[in-house]
């Protein structure tokens, strides 16, 4: 292993409700759904109609502007509903499972026999291309671009995040197969691992460069890892994917199937049995959380982690890129004189609450905003939790005034929403920074394409 890269800035939010490394038992649900909104910039066009029979791997919809990018069904059954929102925007494409898991057949092939174009075609046909994303912009990769590297983060440092080594143990072969596929797309494959973890899975992989990181969240973010090893400058592209997605890619080539199975961690202070569950991409969480959550408060169900996840209903669906479901209290209460009281047991990066006197190991945080939206007042907070050579506040200002040149100069190519989620967490003025950044990125894409 190469030298350990020390990340000093950042913050580990000590949330209560960490999952044990055991598997819980839960039935697969009846309903599955793909949310087009999980894929930034994709305008969905349906390929099937409600009531049509689909198999695992049947194309459900594709991108209107890049029809080669397809999205497939995670199970076999029939298309139950297309849920639309305002202006008939497609929000969810729901498939009702028939339990048989009948699969579309894709020929197993040796990667070495295929050209790069053939591999791309195969991935696109099987709906797996959507799992390869690119930096800058954090959107689905463009097969016509040549990436300078392919990065995979081997650990997730977000609050209550799953342990990747645990998830991947037993799937080493498929992972290696997936890496072999990726290597045909881009020779230069990098994996970031946690320095002290006995990450046998990653250290035993062939054909990859391993970087070890030591530090608090967001050290596990692939954007931070790229920044510290091979920063992205203007005109450069890096492709990224998550380990479970690489496994699925591997299985497509070795077994010839589209495998939507995912291991997700169910965590959070309001969950009774906090554990890992074997389920599928897009699965409804209804069977996971039924009779498995505390009923005292209003609850918030999140697909993903508390910093970047998507709020879903108690029968909502696991997002396409998520391998975590978190349940926390909603926190929709008024707090009497909350700003003046000593505040034992409140979590804050500043020491303005007396909780520094009796440091708790774990905090049960809720989704309350703890204040109102204000303009930028306090300075230097964002810098403490963004371990990159970027001046976040000035980048946000450039975004707010829509100054494309400044955004580029200040490093918008290097960051994605997940990287600045902590800035949003610590912000005294309660600014919606992730939404602001996405607005800036969308503007960049629009102006530069």
């Amino acid at each position: 292993m190469s030298e350990v890269i020390k990340i000093k800035k950042g913050l580990d939010i000590q949330l209560s409700g960490k999952a044990e490394k055991v598997f819980g038992q839960a039935d697969l649900p009846e309903l599955f759904a793909i949310r087009p909104t999980d894929f930034h910039g994709v305008v969905p066009k349906m390929a099937v109609k409600v009531g049509d029979k689909v198999k695992t791997g049947t194309v459900l919809f594709f991108d209107k502007y890049r029809p080669e990018i397809k999205f497939v069904s995670p199970v076999s059954g029939e298309l139950a509903a297309v849920n639309r929102g305002e202006r008939r925007k497609i929000l969810e494409i729901v498939v009702k499972s028939d339990g048989s898991d009948e699969k579309e057949h894709f020929e197993p092939t040796k990667v070495s026999d295929l050209s790069k174009e053939q591999i791309v075609e195969k991935l696109q046909a099987a709906g797996l291309w959507s799992f390869i994303r690119k930096r800058p912009y954090d959107v689905i990769a463009d097969a016509n671009e040549t990436p300078k590297a392919f990065y995979i983060s081997g650990f997730d440092s977000a609050p209550l995040a799953p342990d990747m080594d645990f998830i991947l143990s037993g799937q080493e072969e498929a992972l290696q197969a997936g890496i072999n596929v990726v290597k045909q797309l881009c020779e230069n494959v990098h994996i970031g691992v946690q320095y002290d973890a006995a990450s046998k899975v990653f250290n035993n992989l062939n054909g990859v460069t391993v970087h070890a990181f030591n530090g608090p969240h967001p050290a596990g973010n692939v954007g931070v890892q790229i920044h510290h090893t091979m920063p992205i400058s203007k005109g450069e592209v890096v492709w990224v994917a998550q380990p479970q997605e690489i496994v699925a890619i591997g299985k497509l080539f070795t077994e010839g199937i589209y495998d939507a199975s995912r291991i997700v961690v169910l965590a959070g202070s309001e969950v009774e049995k906090k554990a890992y569950y074997r389920t599928k991409l897009g699965a409804s969480i209804s069977t996971l959380v039924k009779d498995n959550v505390k009923k005292n408060d209003t609850l918030r169900y999140i697909s993903g982690n508390v910093l970047t996840g998507t709020q879903i209903e108690e029968d909502g669906y696991i997002g396409a890129y998520h391998s975590q479901v978190t349940v926390i209290p909603e926190g929709d209460y008024y707090e009497f004189m909350g700003w003046a009281l000593p505040g034992f047991g409140k979590f804050s990066m500043s020491r303005s609450f007396f909780s520094w006197m009796c440091k708790k190991k774990e905090y049960r945080l809720d989704a309350n905003m703890h204040g109102g939206l204000r303009s930028f007042v306090v300075s230097g907070q964002y810098d403490q939790v963004l371990p990159m050579d970027i001046l976040p506040e000035f980048l946000f200002r450039a975004i707010l005034v829509e100054d494309i040149d400044k955004m580029e100069q200040l490093g918008i190519y290097e960051i994605a929403e997940e990287d600045i989620a902590l800035c949003e967490f610590v912000c005294t003025s309660k600014q919606p920074l992730q939404a602001t950044l996405r607005k800036g990125i969308d503007l960049m894409i629009k102006e530069l394409s």
């Binding site: 309350n368 703890h370 050579d389």
Partner: protein, 385 residues
């Protein structure tokens, strides 16, 4: 508490948009959020948020000002009875001080918050918390004998010209409290400088013992006399001066609170003191007049230096916003403050001018730090290419 909540819930529908009393929405909102942290939850982006908000932040700064305020109250009484040649005892001193100081505080808060509410009402936004701190800073940087109407006029000026014309809290260029002081300093110099204004009762001269001078150390040094108060006296703060600025000790307690909670920038505080000390040492070497000969350590204990360093320079809105910029900004404040003091005895309070000047230049300093970041990124791209 439950009853209060019910009362607010009953009123709330009547001040919502479209309801009969919608004009009073911002006033209602200000009162409601004063008593209750609102029940709003995160809608998109992060699902959990740090417990700190702007009210909390401002409340911490006000708490950090309390040692200076309490000391100022006592010192006002102490100086008064010293001038009278009476040994009145601790509680009489505190009583006299409270009678003098608290009205100024009340006028400052009353007038300032009044203006804030009116602006929030007209603009239809929430009442912002910035004035919670300014309202306490303004009294603490004024001489105790200042007429109350002047406090009111200065506060109105500070809130409107110092803040609201720029768009409110977070948008201002200069520190509003210093704008108030500068306004009084230039509009009514006779009430803001000289030897008579710093001790309560001295300006009308009744009952003052013969030969008692109310001159501050700076005033003495400016007129060519070595300061009669020792460094230790100046550090503890038993000297004439503006209400809250005399005790470096009480101010340092406040500094400790600000730094420990992470609310005030330690970089600015440290670099202001460093800048002042370095400049003081340089002048000591030169030593051409009484002001230059004042010991560098003594320099940073007298006048408004410490108060400015800890409470004025650290105002995040008007200071530099980059971490590297904070070092430069702070150092130059300290440096310039002593320079103004020494070179221009007509303005012994160089700290105020130095901070206002650096407030003006803070965006420029930030600009260069940002350019540095941009250049590093470009250079990296070239090396890679």
């Amino acid at each position: 508490m439950k009853a209060l909540r019910n009362l607010l819930d009953n009123i709330k529908p009547h001040v919502q948009k479209g309801a009969k009393f919608e004009k009073f929405h911002s006033t209602f909102d200000a009162l409601e959020t004063l008593f209750f942290v609102p029940n709003t939850t995160n809608k998109n982006g992060v699902h959990v948020r740090d417990a700190v908000d702007l009210k909390r932040t401002m409340a911490i700064v006000v708490k950090a000002l309390i040692p200076a305020l309490l000391f100022g109250i006592w010192n006002t009484g102490y100086q008064h009875f010293l001038a009278m040649g009476v040994d009145a005892g601790f509680w009489a001193e505190v009583g006299h001080g409270a009678l003098k100081v608290l009205p100024i505080v009340i006028v400052s808060y009353g007038v300032g918050l009044g203006v804030e509410f009116i602006f929030a009402q007209f603009r239809g936004h929430e009442v912002q918390e910035g004035f919670l701190v300014s309202g306490m800073l303004i009294p603490l940087v004024l001489p105790v004998d200042v007429p109350l109407w002047m406090v009111a006029v200065a506060t109105v000026f500070a809130v409107i010209i110092g803040k609201e014309v720029f768009g409110g809290t977070g948008m201002n260029i200069w520190n509003p409290a210093l704008v108030a002081r500068a306004f009084l300093f230039f509009a009514y110099p006779s009430k803001m400088s000289g030897d008579k204004v710093w001790i309560s009762g001295l300006s009308n001269g009744e009952g003052v013992i013969d030969g008692f001078s109310g001159a501050t150390s700076l005033g003495q040094a400016a007129s060519g006399v070595a300061p009669s108060h020792s460094i230790m006296e100046s550090f503890i703060g038993m000297i004439p001066g503006s209400i809250g600025e005399t005790s470096t000790l009480a101010i340092l307690i406040g500094a400790a609170i600000l730094i420990y909670t992470g609310i005030g920038s330690w970089k600015i505080i440290v670099s202001v003191f460093a800048g002042g000390y370095v400049m003081g040492l340089l002048f000591n070497l030169w030593g051409a007049n009484a002001l230059m000969q004042v010991d560098a350590l003594h320099h940073i204990c007298i006048g408004g230096f410490a108060f400015g360093a800890v409470f004025m320079a650290t105002d995040p809105v008007s200071a530099t916003r980059t971490e590297r910029g904070k070092w430069i900004y702070g150092f130059l404040i300290g440096f310039l403050a002593i320079m103004v003091r020494v070179f221009n005895p007509a303005y012994p309070e160089g700290v105020m001018l130095a901070i206002l000047l650096m407030n003006t230049f803070a965006p420029l300093i930030d600009h260069y730090v940002v350019q540095g970041n941009i250049k590093r990124r470009l250079k990296r791209a070239k090396v890679a290419a």
